[in-house]
Amino acid sequence: MSHKQAGGPPGESAVDWCLYQLNGAAEFEVSEADIISTVEFNHTGELLATGDKGGRVVIFQREPESKNEPYNQGEYNVYSTFQSHEPEFDYLKSLEIEEKINKIKWLPQQNAAHSLLSTNDKTIKLWKITERDKRPEGYNLKDEEGKLKDLSTVTSLQVPVLKPMDLMVEVTPRRIFANGHTYHVNSISVNSDCETYMSADDLRINLWHLAITDRSFNIVDIKPANMEDLTEVITASEFHPHHCNLFVYSSSKGSLRLCDMRASALCDKHSKLYEEPEDPSNRSFFSEIISSVSDVKFSHSGRYMLTRDYLTVKVWDLNMETKPVETYQVHDYLRSKLCSLYENDCIFDKFECAWNGSDSVIMTGAYNNFFRMFDRNTKRDVTLEASRESSKPRAILKPRRVCVGGKRRKDDISVDSLDFTKKILHTAWHPTENIIAIAATNNLYIFQDKVNSEMH
Protein backbone atom coordinates (compact mmCIF):
# COMPACT_ATOMS: atom_id res chain seq x y z
CA MET A 1 0.00 0.00 0.00
CA SER A 2 1.64 3.25 -1.06
CA HIS A 3 2.13 5.91 1.55
CA LYS A 4 1.36 9.48 0.72
CA GLN A 5 3.49 12.17 2.29
CA ALA A 6 1.76 13.91 5.15
CA GLY A 7 1.57 17.60 4.44
CA GLY A 8 -0.62 20.46 3.50
CA PRO A 9 -2.89 22.57 5.66
CA PRO A 10 -4.98 21.03 8.46
CA GLY A 11 -8.31 19.65 7.43
CA GLU A 12 -6.81 17.82 4.50
CA SER A 13 -6.37 14.14 4.12
CA ALA A 14 -3.12 12.41 3.28
CA VAL A 15 -5.23 10.04 1.23
CA ASP A 16 -7.33 11.21 -1.70
CA TRP A 17 -10.67 9.53 -1.30
CA CYS A 18 -12.96 9.18 -4.28
CA LEU A 19 -16.34 7.61 -4.72
CA TYR A 20 -16.13 4.17 -6.16
CA GLN A 21 -19.75 3.21 -6.12
CA LEU A 22 -23.07 4.07 -4.59
CA ASN A 23 -25.84 1.57 -3.97
CA GLY A 24 -29.37 2.15 -2.87
CA ALA A 25 -32.40 4.15 -3.93
CA ALA A 26 -32.53 7.93 -4.08
CA GLU A 27 -33.22 9.64 -0.78
CA PHE A 28 -36.83 10.57 -1.38
CA GLU A 29 -37.68 6.91 -1.89
CA VAL A 30 -36.52 5.76 1.54
CA SER A 31 -38.70 3.26 3.29
CA GLU A 32 -37.93 2.45 6.93
CA ALA A 33 -36.92 -1.11 6.04
CA ASP A 34 -34.17 0.10 3.72
CA ILE A 35 -32.25 1.91 6.42
CA ILE A 36 -28.87 0.21 6.70
CA SER A 37 -28.16 -0.86 10.26
CA THR A 38 -24.75 -2.50 9.97
CA VAL A 39 -21.80 -2.82 7.58
CA GLU A 40 -18.96 -5.33 7.84
CA PHE A 41 -16.06 -6.45 5.64
CA ASN A 42 -14.93 -10.05 5.94
CA HIS A 43 -11.36 -10.88 6.97
CA THR A 44 -9.88 -10.58 3.49
CA GLY A 45 -12.02 -7.66 2.39
CA GLU A 46 -13.29 -9.67 -0.54
CA LEU A 47 -16.82 -9.63 0.83
CA LEU A 48 -18.85 -6.79 2.32
CA ALA A 49 -22.09 -7.47 4.16
CA THR A 50 -24.82 -4.99 5.04
CA GLY A 51 -27.85 -5.51 7.24
CA ASP A 52 -30.93 -3.33 7.31
CA LYS A 53 -33.96 -2.49 9.40
CA GLY A 54 -36.10 -4.83 7.33
CA GLY A 55 -34.04 -7.79 8.52
CA ARG A 56 -32.32 -8.34 5.17
CA VAL A 57 -28.66 -8.95 4.48
CA VAL A 58 -26.96 -7.99 1.22
CA ILE A 59 -23.49 -9.35 0.50
CA PHE A 60 -21.21 -7.67 -2.01
CA GLN A 61 -18.18 -9.34 -3.56
CA ARG A 62 -15.18 -7.55 -4.91
CA GLU A 63 -14.44 -8.11 -8.57
CA PRO A 64 -11.08 -9.83 -8.93
CA GLU A 65 -8.45 -7.93 -10.86
CA SER A 66 -8.35 -8.50 -14.56
CA LYS A 67 -6.27 -6.78 -17.16
CA ASN A 68 -9.12 -6.82 -19.62
CA GLU A 69 -11.47 -4.51 -17.78
CA PRO A 70 -9.46 -2.01 -15.78
CA TYR A 71 -12.46 0.04 -14.72
CA ASN A 72 -14.27 -2.84 -13.14
CA GLN A 73 -11.49 -3.57 -10.78
CA GLY A 74 -12.26 -3.49 -7.16
CA GLU A 75 -15.96 -3.00 -7.77
CA TYR A 76 -18.20 -4.57 -5.19
CA ASN A 77 -21.04 -6.36 -6.92
CA VAL A 78 -24.06 -7.89 -5.30
CA TYR A 79 -23.16 -11.46 -4.49
CA SER A 80 -26.19 -12.57 -2.52
CA THR A 81 -29.13 -11.24 -0.58
CA PHE A 82 -31.41 -12.95 1.89
CA GLN A 83 -33.96 -12.35 4.60
CA SER A 84 -32.10 -12.98 7.82
CA HIS A 85 -34.66 -12.08 10.48
CA GLU A 86 -38.39 -11.42 10.48
CA PRO A 87 -40.52 -9.38 12.86
CA GLU A 88 -41.79 -11.35 15.82
CA PHE A 89 -44.12 -10.72 18.70
CA ASP A 90 -43.43 -12.23 22.10
CA TYR A 91 -46.98 -12.67 23.38
CA LEU A 92 -45.89 -13.69 26.85
CA LYS A 93 -44.00 -10.48 27.49
CA SER A 94 -46.05 -8.29 25.18
CA LEU A 95 -42.87 -7.40 23.38
CA GLU A 96 -42.43 -6.58 19.77
CA ILE A 97 -39.17 -7.97 18.43
CA GLU A 98 -37.77 -5.93 15.59
CA GLU A 99 -36.23 -7.69 12.63
CA LYS A 100 -33.57 -5.02 12.34
CA ILE A 101 -30.09 -6.51 11.98
CA ASN A 102 -28.01 -5.03 14.77
CA LYS A 103 -24.71 -6.64 13.91
CA ILE A 104 -23.07 -8.93 11.38
CA LYS A 105 -19.77 -10.65 12.07
CA TRP A 106 -17.92 -12.84 9.60
CA LEU A 107 -16.29 -16.06 10.66
CA PRO A 108 -12.76 -16.59 9.35
CA GLN A 109 -12.99 -18.68 6.24
CA GLN A 110 -12.06 -22.30 6.86
CA ASN A 111 -13.15 -23.97 3.61
CA ALA A 112 -14.78 -23.03 0.32
CA ALA A 113 -17.87 -21.72 2.08
CA HIS A 114 -18.22 -18.38 3.82
CA SER A 115 -20.04 -18.05 7.13
CA LEU A 116 -21.40 -15.12 9.03
CA LEU A 117 -23.34 -14.43 12.19
CA SER A 118 -26.22 -11.98 12.06
CA THR A 119 -28.27 -10.84 15.02
CA ASN A 120 -31.38 -8.83 15.79
CA ASP A 121 -32.43 -7.85 19.32
CA LYS A 122 -32.98 -11.43 20.45
CA THR A 123 -31.76 -14.13 18.09
CA ILE A 124 -28.36 -14.81 16.56
CA LYS A 125 -28.14 -16.85 13.38
CA LEU A 126 -25.23 -18.55 11.67
CA TRP A 127 -25.48 -18.46 7.89
CA LYS A 128 -23.43 -20.50 5.45
CA ILE A 129 -22.83 -19.10 1.98
CA THR A 130 -21.83 -21.57 -0.70
CA GLU A 131 -21.34 -21.41 -4.41
CA ARG A 132 -22.61 -23.88 -6.86
CA ASP A 133 -21.25 -23.76 -10.36
CA LYS A 134 -21.70 -27.34 -11.51
CA ARG A 135 -24.68 -29.57 -11.75
CA PRO A 136 -24.96 -33.26 -12.48
CA GLU A 137 -26.58 -34.26 -15.74
CA GLY A 138 -27.41 -37.59 -17.26
CA TYR A 139 -29.39 -39.37 -14.58
CA ASN A 140 -30.66 -42.80 -15.47
CA LEU A 141 -34.05 -42.67 -13.83
CA LYS A 142 -34.98 -39.00 -14.16
CA ASP A 143 -35.02 -36.74 -17.16
CA GLU A 144 -33.76 -33.15 -17.43
CA GLU A 145 -36.74 -31.73 -15.56
CA GLY A 146 -36.53 -34.28 -12.80
CA LYS A 147 -39.53 -36.32 -13.90
CA LEU A 148 -39.30 -40.08 -13.77
CA LYS A 149 -38.44 -41.60 -17.10
CA ASP A 150 -40.51 -44.26 -18.72
CA LEU A 151 -38.30 -47.24 -17.93
CA SER A 152 -39.08 -48.98 -21.18
CA THR A 153 -37.16 -46.23 -23.00
CA VAL A 154 -34.04 -46.77 -20.96
CA THR A 155 -31.79 -49.14 -22.88
CA SER A 156 -28.38 -48.46 -21.41
CA LEU A 157 -26.78 -47.21 -18.23
CA GLN A 158 -24.89 -43.98 -18.10
CA VAL A 159 -22.80 -42.32 -15.47
CA PRO A 160 -24.03 -38.82 -14.60
CA VAL A 161 -21.44 -36.12 -15.32
CA LEU A 162 -20.92 -32.76 -13.73
CA LYS A 163 -21.54 -29.95 -16.18
CA PRO A 164 -20.80 -26.29 -15.57
CA MET A 165 -23.75 -24.01 -14.85
CA ASP A 166 -24.28 -20.33 -14.09
CA LEU A 167 -22.93 -19.49 -10.66
CA MET A 168 -25.55 -19.85 -7.99
CA VAL A 169 -24.94 -18.54 -4.50
CA GLU A 170 -26.85 -20.38 -1.83
CA VAL A 171 -27.36 -19.14 1.69
CA THR A 172 -28.62 -21.49 4.37
CA PRO A 173 -29.22 -20.94 8.07
CA ARG A 174 -27.00 -23.45 9.83
CA ARG A 175 -27.62 -22.53 13.45
CA ILE A 176 -30.17 -20.49 15.28
CA PHE A 177 -29.11 -19.31 18.72
CA ALA A 178 -32.40 -18.33 20.30
CA ASN A 179 -33.70 -17.58 23.77
CA GLY A 180 -30.35 -16.53 25.13
CA HIS A 181 -31.24 -12.96 25.92
CA THR A 182 -33.86 -11.24 27.99
CA TYR A 183 -32.64 -7.80 26.99
CA HIS A 184 -31.61 -6.39 23.63
CA VAL A 185 -28.51 -7.77 21.96
CA ASN A 186 -26.14 -4.95 21.04
CA SER A 187 -22.99 -6.83 20.01
CA ILE A 188 -21.61 -10.13 18.88
CA SER A 189 -17.95 -11.02 18.57
CA VAL A 190 -16.24 -14.13 17.25
CA ASN A 191 -13.39 -15.43 19.37
CA SER A 192 -9.95 -15.88 17.84
CA ASP A 193 -10.30 -19.58 18.58
CA CYS A 194 -12.92 -19.68 15.80
CA GLU A 195 -15.02 -22.03 17.89
CA THR A 196 -16.83 -19.71 20.24
CA TYR A 197 -18.41 -16.31 20.11
CA MET A 198 -20.08 -13.96 22.54
CA SER A 199 -23.30 -12.00 22.43
CA ALA A 200 -23.96 -9.05 24.72
CA ASP A 201 -27.23 -7.44 25.71
CA ASP A 202 -27.85 -4.49 28.03
CA LEU A 203 -27.13 -6.47 31.19
CA ARG A 204 -25.56 -9.79 30.28
CA ILE A 205 -22.93 -11.36 28.07
CA ASN A 206 -23.19 -14.96 26.89
CA LEU A 207 -20.56 -17.25 25.48
CA TRP A 208 -21.69 -19.70 22.81
CA HIS A 209 -20.06 -22.53 20.94
CA LEU A 210 -20.70 -22.11 17.23
CA ALA A 211 -21.92 -25.70 16.94
CA ILE A 212 -24.19 -25.73 19.99
CA THR A 213 -27.47 -23.85 20.02
CA ASP A 214 -29.26 -25.20 23.08
CA ARG A 215 -26.75 -24.03 25.64
CA SER A 216 -24.87 -20.88 26.35
CA PHE A 217 -22.62 -19.79 29.21
CA ASN A 218 -23.30 -16.54 30.94
CA ILE A 219 -19.97 -14.79 31.48
CA VAL A 220 -21.05 -11.33 32.59
CA ASP A 221 -24.16 -10.39 34.53
CA ILE A 222 -24.54 -6.84 35.78
CA LYS A 223 -28.23 -7.04 36.55
CA PRO A 224 -28.73 -5.70 40.10
CA ALA A 225 -30.88 -7.67 42.55
CA ASN A 226 -33.17 -4.67 42.70
CA MET A 227 -33.77 -2.96 39.39
CA GLU A 228 -34.18 0.33 41.23
CA ASP A 229 -30.42 0.16 41.77
CA LEU A 230 -29.65 -0.03 38.07
CA THR A 231 -27.08 2.60 37.20
CA GLU A 232 -25.37 1.40 34.06
CA VAL A 233 -25.84 -0.94 31.11
CA ILE A 234 -23.54 -2.73 28.70
CA THR A 235 -23.29 -0.86 25.43
CA ALA A 236 -20.77 -2.85 23.36
CA SER A 237 -18.32 -5.72 23.67
CA GLU A 238 -15.59 -7.42 21.70
CA PHE A 239 -13.11 -10.27 21.99
CA HIS A 240 -9.41 -9.50 21.82
CA PRO A 241 -8.17 -10.24 18.28
CA HIS A 242 -5.38 -12.59 19.43
CA HIS A 243 -5.88 -13.57 23.06
CA CYS A 244 -8.84 -15.91 23.18
CA ASN A 245 -9.29 -15.40 26.91
CA LEU A 246 -9.67 -11.62 26.86
CA PHE A 247 -12.64 -9.48 26.01
CA VAL A 248 -13.73 -5.95 26.68
CA TYR A 249 -17.14 -4.43 27.32
CA SER A 250 -18.16 -0.80 27.50
CA SER A 251 -20.82 0.84 29.61
CA SER A 252 -23.31 3.68 29.47
CA LYS A 253 -21.21 5.48 32.06
CA GLY A 254 -18.20 5.67 29.76
CA SER A 255 -16.04 2.97 31.27
CA LEU A 256 -14.39 -0.07 29.72
CA ARG A 257 -13.86 -3.36 31.46
CA LEU A 258 -11.30 -5.87 30.28
CA CYS A 259 -12.12 -9.37 31.43
CA ASP A 260 -10.04 -12.52 31.52
CA MET A 261 -11.99 -15.75 31.15
CA ARG A 262 -9.16 -17.70 32.76
CA ALA A 263 -9.70 -15.87 36.02
CA SER A 264 -13.17 -17.22 36.70
CA ALA A 265 -16.22 -18.62 35.00
CA LEU A 266 -18.28 -15.54 35.73
CA CYS A 267 -16.39 -12.43 34.73
CA ASP A 268 -18.40 -9.93 36.75
CA LYS A 269 -15.18 -8.78 38.29
CA HIS A 270 -13.06 -7.07 35.71
CA SER A 271 -9.35 -7.56 35.29
CA LYS A 272 -8.89 -3.95 34.30
CA LEU A 273 -11.20 -0.96 34.48
CA TYR A 274 -10.55 1.87 32.06
CA GLU A 275 -12.12 5.10 33.13
CA GLU A 276 -11.24 8.71 32.64
CA PRO A 277 -11.86 10.69 35.80
CA GLU A 278 -14.33 13.49 35.36
CA ASP A 279 -13.93 16.99 36.67
CA PRO A 280 -16.88 17.27 39.08
CA SER A 281 -17.21 21.00 38.51
CA ASN A 282 -17.90 20.31 34.84
CA ARG A 283 -20.63 17.86 35.53
CA SER A 284 -24.00 18.63 33.99
CA PHE A 285 -27.27 16.86 33.30
CA PHE A 286 -25.80 15.69 30.02
CA SER A 287 -22.42 14.47 31.25
CA GLU A 288 -23.32 10.86 31.73
CA ILE A 289 -25.39 10.61 28.56
CA ILE A 290 -22.64 11.98 26.34
CA SER A 291 -20.00 9.84 28.02
CA SER A 292 -21.87 6.63 27.19
CA VAL A 293 -19.65 4.55 24.91
CA SER A 294 -21.53 3.59 21.76
CA ASP A 295 -18.81 1.40 20.23
CA VAL A 296 -15.54 -0.25 21.23
CA LYS A 297 -13.02 -1.80 18.82
CA PHE A 298 -9.66 -3.40 19.46
CA SER A 299 -6.87 -2.29 17.16
CA HIS A 300 -5.61 -4.91 14.71
CA SER A 301 -2.44 -5.09 16.78
CA GLY A 302 -4.45 -5.85 19.90
CA ARG A 303 -2.51 -3.24 21.81
CA TYR A 304 -5.15 -0.49 21.80
CA MET A 305 -8.90 -0.01 22.06
CA LEU A 306 -10.93 2.63 20.27
CA THR A 307 -14.10 3.99 21.86
CA ARG A 308 -16.75 6.35 20.57
CA ASP A 309 -18.92 8.47 22.81
CA TYR A 310 -21.25 11.22 21.70
CA LEU A 311 -18.69 13.91 21.06
CA THR A 312 -15.29 12.18 20.89
CA VAL A 313 -13.31 9.12 19.84
CA LYS A 314 -10.64 7.92 22.24
CA VAL A 315 -7.71 5.58 21.92
CA TRP A 316 -6.91 3.56 25.03
CA ASP A 317 -3.71 1.64 25.68
CA LEU A 318 -4.46 -1.72 27.26
CA ASN A 319 -1.67 -1.03 29.70
CA MET A 320 -3.09 2.25 30.96
CA GLU A 321 -6.35 2.29 32.85
CA THR A 322 -6.36 5.83 34.12
CA LYS A 323 -7.09 7.69 30.92
CA PRO A 324 -7.06 7.35 27.14
CA VAL A 325 -3.79 7.97 25.35
CA GLU A 326 -5.47 9.97 22.62
CA THR A 327 -8.73 11.92 22.44
CA TYR A 328 -10.14 13.35 19.24
CA GLN A 329 -13.05 15.78 19.01
CA VAL A 330 -15.60 14.64 16.47
CA HIS A 331 -18.05 17.53 16.68
CA ASP A 332 -17.45 19.52 19.82
CA TYR A 333 -19.62 22.35 18.45
CA LEU A 334 -22.62 20.23 19.41
CA ARG A 335 -21.94 20.95 23.07
CA SER A 336 -23.94 24.14 22.77
CA LYS A 337 -26.83 22.26 21.15
CA LEU A 338 -27.26 19.55 23.74
CA CYS A 339 -30.65 20.76 24.89
CA SER A 340 -32.28 20.41 21.48
CA LEU A 341 -30.33 17.22 20.75
CA TYR A 342 -31.82 15.77 23.93
CA GLU A 343 -35.31 16.84 22.91
CA ASN A 344 -35.08 15.26 19.48
CA ASP A 345 -33.36 12.16 20.90
CA CYS A 346 -30.27 12.64 18.75
CA ILE A 347 -28.15 12.66 21.90
CA PHE A 348 -28.83 8.93 22.11
CA ASP A 349 -27.55 8.18 18.60
CA LYS A 350 -25.04 5.36 18.60
CA PHE A 351 -22.13 6.07 16.32
CA GLU A 352 -19.60 3.39 15.45
CA CYS A 353 -15.87 3.77 14.95
CA ALA A 354 -13.24 1.97 12.89
CA TRP A 355 -9.48 1.47 12.56
CA ASN A 356 -7.69 1.29 9.24
CA GLY A 357 -5.61 -1.80 8.52
CA SER A 358 -2.39 -0.43 9.97
CA ASP A 359 -4.09 1.19 13.01
CA SER A 360 -2.74 4.57 11.97
CA VAL A 361 -6.05 6.23 11.06
CA ILE A 362 -9.41 6.10 12.81
CA MET A 363 -12.77 6.91 11.33
CA THR A 364 -16.21 7.67 12.66
CA GLY A 365 -19.47 9.12 11.37
CA ALA A 366 -21.28 12.32 12.29
CA TYR A 367 -24.34 14.32 11.18
CA ASN A 368 -25.19 15.91 7.85
CA ASN A 369 -23.78 12.77 6.18
CA PHE A 370 -20.34 13.84 7.32
CA PHE A 371 -17.72 11.39 8.47
CA ARG A 372 -14.41 12.14 10.12
CA MET A 373 -10.96 10.62 9.92
CA PHE A 374 -8.11 11.17 12.35
CA ASP A 375 -4.52 10.35 11.50
CA ARG A 376 -2.84 9.28 14.72
CA ASN A 377 0.66 9.97 13.46
CA THR A 378 0.30 13.36 11.83
CA LYS A 379 -2.53 14.44 14.17
CA ARG A 380 -4.38 15.72 11.09
CA ASP A 381 -8.09 15.24 10.79
CA VAL A 382 -10.50 15.63 7.94
CA THR A 383 -14.26 15.87 7.48
CA LEU A 384 -15.73 14.31 4.35
CA GLU A 385 -19.26 14.04 3.08
CA ALA A 386 -21.18 11.08 1.71
CA SER A 387 -23.86 12.53 -0.49
CA ARG A 388 -24.87 12.26 -4.09
CA GLU A 389 -24.28 15.93 -4.79
CA SER A 390 -20.76 16.03 -3.46
CA SER A 391 -19.53 12.69 -4.76
CA LYS A 392 -19.02 12.37 -8.47
CA PRO A 393 -17.54 8.98 -9.40
CA ARG A 394 -13.75 9.02 -9.41
CA ALA A 395 -13.63 12.69 -8.38
CA ILE A 396 -11.64 13.36 -5.23
CA LEU A 397 -13.75 14.14 -2.17
CA LYS A 398 -13.36 17.69 -0.99
CA PRO A 399 -12.85 18.21 2.74
CA ARG A 400 -15.81 19.88 4.48
CA ARG A 401 -15.76 22.35 7.30
CA VAL A 402 -18.29 23.28 9.94
CA CYS A 403 -17.95 26.87 11.02
CA VAL A 404 -18.84 27.92 14.52
CA GLY A 405 -19.05 31.62 14.10
CA GLY A 406 -16.03 33.73 13.42
CA LYS A 407 -14.57 33.66 9.95
CA ARG A 408 -16.69 31.80 7.51
CA ARG A 409 -15.19 30.46 4.32
CA LYS A 410 -17.09 29.68 1.19
CA ASP A 411 -18.56 26.15 1.29
CA ASP A 412 -18.47 26.09 5.09
CA ILE A 413 -21.59 24.84 6.78
CA SER A 414 -22.84 26.53 9.89
CA VAL A 415 -23.80 24.42 12.88
CA ASP A 416 -27.41 25.53 12.58
CA SER A 417 -27.67 24.24 9.02
CA LEU A 418 -26.57 20.73 9.87
CA ASP A 419 -29.14 18.09 9.03
CA PHE A 420 -29.46 15.86 12.09
CA THR A 421 -31.61 13.35 10.28
CA LYS A 422 -28.68 12.49 8.02
CA LYS A 423 -26.52 10.51 10.38
CA ILE A 424 -23.66 8.22 9.52
CA LEU A 425 -23.76 5.67 12.29
CA HIS A 426 -22.18 2.70 10.50
CA THR A 427 -18.84 2.69 8.74
CA ALA A 428 -16.31 -0.02 7.91
CA TRP A 429 -12.71 -0.03 6.76
CA HIS A 430 -11.26 -2.74 4.53
CA PRO A 431 -8.88 -4.92 6.61
CA THR A 432 -5.80 -4.06 4.55
CA GLU A 433 -6.53 -1.48 1.87
CA ASN A 434 -7.75 2.09 1.78
CA ILE A 435 -11.31 1.19 0.93
CA ILE A 436 -14.16 2.34 3.16
CA ALA A 437 -17.85 1.53 3.23
CA ILE A 438 -20.14 4.25 4.55
CA ALA A 439 -23.82 3.71 5.28
CA ALA A 440 -25.81 6.92 4.87
CA THR A 441 -29.38 6.04 5.84
CA ASN A 442 -30.42 3.78 2.97
CA ASN A 443 -27.42 4.30 0.75
CA LEU A 444 -24.12 2.46 0.75
CA TYR A 445 -21.09 4.47 -0.40
CA ILE A 446 -17.80 2.81 -1.15
CA PHE A 447 -14.84 5.16 -1.31
CA GLN A 448 -11.37 4.16 -2.39
CA ASP A 449 -7.99 5.77 -2.30
CA LYS A 450 -7.46 7.32 -5.71
CA VAL A 451 -3.90 6.03 -5.84
CA ASN A 452 -5.11 2.58 -4.85
CA SER A 453 -7.68 2.49 -7.58
CA GLU A 454 -5.33 3.80 -10.23
CA MET A 455 -2.79 1.12 -9.45
CA HIS A 456 -5.12 -1.63 -10.56
Binding site: N23, G24, A25, E29, E32, A33, D34, I36, T50, D52, G54, G55, R56, V58, V78, T81, Q83, E86, P87, F89, K93, S94, L95, E96, I97, E98, E99, D121, Y183, H184, D202, L203, M227, E228, D229, L230, T231, E232, V233, S252, K253, N282, S284, F285, F286, S287, E288, I289, R335, S336, K337, L338, C339, Y342, E343, N442, L444
Partner: protein, 112 residues
Protein backbone atom coordinates in the same frame (compact mmCIF):
# COMPACT_ATOMS: atom_id res chain seq x y z
CA UNK B 1 -16.81 66.19 36.28
CA UNK B 2 -14.24 63.60 35.24
CA UNK B 3 -15.27 60.76 32.95
CA UNK B 4 -15.95 57.59 34.85
CA UNK B 5 -13.95 54.60 33.77
CA UNK B 6 -15.85 51.31 33.92
CA UNK B 7 -15.40 49.48 37.19
CA UNK B 8 -13.47 46.26 36.86
CA UNK B 9 -15.81 43.30 37.39
CA UNK B 10 -15.63 41.86 40.89
CA UNK B 11 -13.98 38.47 41.30
CA UNK B 12 -17.36 36.75 41.66
CA UNK B 13 -18.78 38.27 38.52
CA UNK B 14 -15.67 37.31 36.66
CA UNK B 15 -15.94 33.70 37.73
CA UNK B 16 -19.59 33.62 36.68
CA UNK B 17 -18.67 34.95 33.29
CA UNK B 18 -15.91 32.39 33.02
CA UNK B 19 -18.27 29.61 33.98
CA UNK B 20 -20.64 30.59 31.21
CA UNK B 21 -17.81 30.77 28.72
CA UNK B 22 -16.18 27.53 29.77
CA UNK B 23 -19.30 25.45 29.98
CA UNK B 24 -21.83 25.63 27.17
CA UNK B 25 -23.13 22.39 28.63
CA UNK B 26 -24.31 24.14 31.75
CA UNK B 27 -26.08 26.73 29.62
CA UNK B 28 -27.83 23.93 27.79
CA UNK B 29 -28.70 22.24 31.05
CA UNK B 30 -30.33 25.45 32.29
CA UNK B 31 -32.36 25.63 29.08
CA UNK B 32 -33.58 22.08 29.52
CA UNK B 33 -34.52 22.56 33.16
CA UNK B 34 -36.44 25.67 32.18
CA UNK B 35 -38.49 23.71 29.68
CA UNK B 36 -39.00 20.60 31.74
CA UNK B 37 -38.98 21.57 35.40
CA UNK B 38 -40.15 18.10 36.44
CA UNK B 39 -37.23 16.33 34.83
CA UNK B 40 -35.83 13.69 37.18
CA UNK B 41 -32.97 14.51 39.42
CA UNK B 42 -30.96 11.47 38.37
CA UNK B 43 -30.93 11.78 34.62
CA UNK B 44 -28.41 9.09 33.84
CA UNK B 45 -29.82 6.87 36.50
CA UNK B 46 -32.40 4.20 36.71
CA UNK B 47 -35.41 5.96 35.18
CA UNK B 48 -33.66 6.63 31.93
CA UNK B 49 -32.01 3.22 31.82
CA UNK B 50 -35.16 1.33 32.64
CA UNK B 51 -36.96 3.09 29.82
CA UNK B 52 -34.18 1.94 27.53
CA UNK B 53 -34.53 -1.63 28.69
CA UNK B 54 -38.25 -1.55 28.03
CA UNK B 55 -37.89 -0.63 24.40
CA UNK B 56 -40.27 -2.64 22.32
CA UNK B 57 -42.84 -3.09 25.05
CA UNK B 58 -46.30 -2.69 23.64
CA UNK B 59 -49.17 -3.13 26.03
CA UNK B 60 -52.63 -3.65 24.72
CA UNK B 61 -55.43 -4.84 26.90
CA UNK B 62 -58.73 -5.16 25.07
CA UNK B 63 -60.64 -4.98 28.37
CA UNK B 64 -59.05 -1.65 29.32
CA UNK B 65 -59.55 -0.37 25.83
CA UNK B 66 -63.24 -1.17 25.74
CA UNK B 67 -63.84 0.22 29.22
CA UNK B 68 -62.16 3.44 28.22
CA UNK B 69 -64.17 3.57 25.05
CA UNK B 70 -67.36 3.13 27.03
CA UNK B 71 -66.43 5.85 29.51
CA UNK B 72 -65.60 8.49 26.98
CA UNK B 73 -68.06 7.76 24.24
CA UNK B 74 -67.75 10.89 22.25
CA UNK B 75 -64.45 12.19 23.45
CA UNK B 76 -61.23 11.24 21.79
CA UNK B 77 -58.94 8.94 23.72
CA UNK B 78 -55.92 10.77 25.14
CA UNK B 79 -52.77 10.22 23.20
CA UNK B 80 -49.41 9.89 24.90
CA UNK B 81 -47.81 13.22 25.72
CA UNK B 82 -44.33 13.48 24.36
CA UNK B 83 -42.74 14.04 27.74
CA UNK B 84 -39.49 12.84 29.09
CA UNK B 85 -40.63 11.15 32.26
CA UNK B 86 -41.55 7.52 32.49
CA UNK B 87 -44.99 6.66 31.19
CA UNK B 88 -46.57 4.07 33.41
CA UNK B 89 -50.04 2.77 32.82
CA UNK B 90 -51.84 6.02 32.19
CA UNK B 91 -51.91 5.73 28.49
CA UNK B 92 -54.15 3.14 26.95
CA UNK B 93 -52.86 2.16 23.56
CA UNK B 94 -55.36 2.15 20.78
CA UNK B 95 -55.10 -0.18 17.82
CA UNK B 96 -53.94 2.83 15.83
CA UNK B 97 -51.02 3.35 18.21
CA UNK B 98 -49.68 -0.15 17.88
CA UNK B 99 -47.40 -0.45 14.90
CA UNK B 100 -48.54 -2.60 12.04
CA UNK B 101 -46.66 -5.79 11.41
CA UNK B 102 -44.32 -5.00 8.64
CA UNK B 103 -44.45 -6.90 5.38
CA UNK B 104 -41.53 -9.22 4.99
CA UNK B 105 -39.84 -10.82 2.04
CA UNK B 106 -39.45 -7.70 -0.05
CA UNK B 107 -36.01 -7.51 -1.58
CA UNK B 108 -33.57 -4.85 -0.43
CA UNK B 109 -33.04 -1.96 -2.84
CA UNK B 110 -29.31 -2.22 -2.21
CA UNK B 111 -29.37 -5.42 -4.20
CA UNK B 112 -30.51 -3.47 -7.24
Amino acid sequence: MSAESPEPASAEEQKEMEDKVISPEKVEEAKLKARYPHLGQKPGGSDFLRKRLQKGQKYFDSGDYNMAKAKMKNKQLPTAAPDKTEVTGDHIPTPQDLPQRKPSLVASKLAG
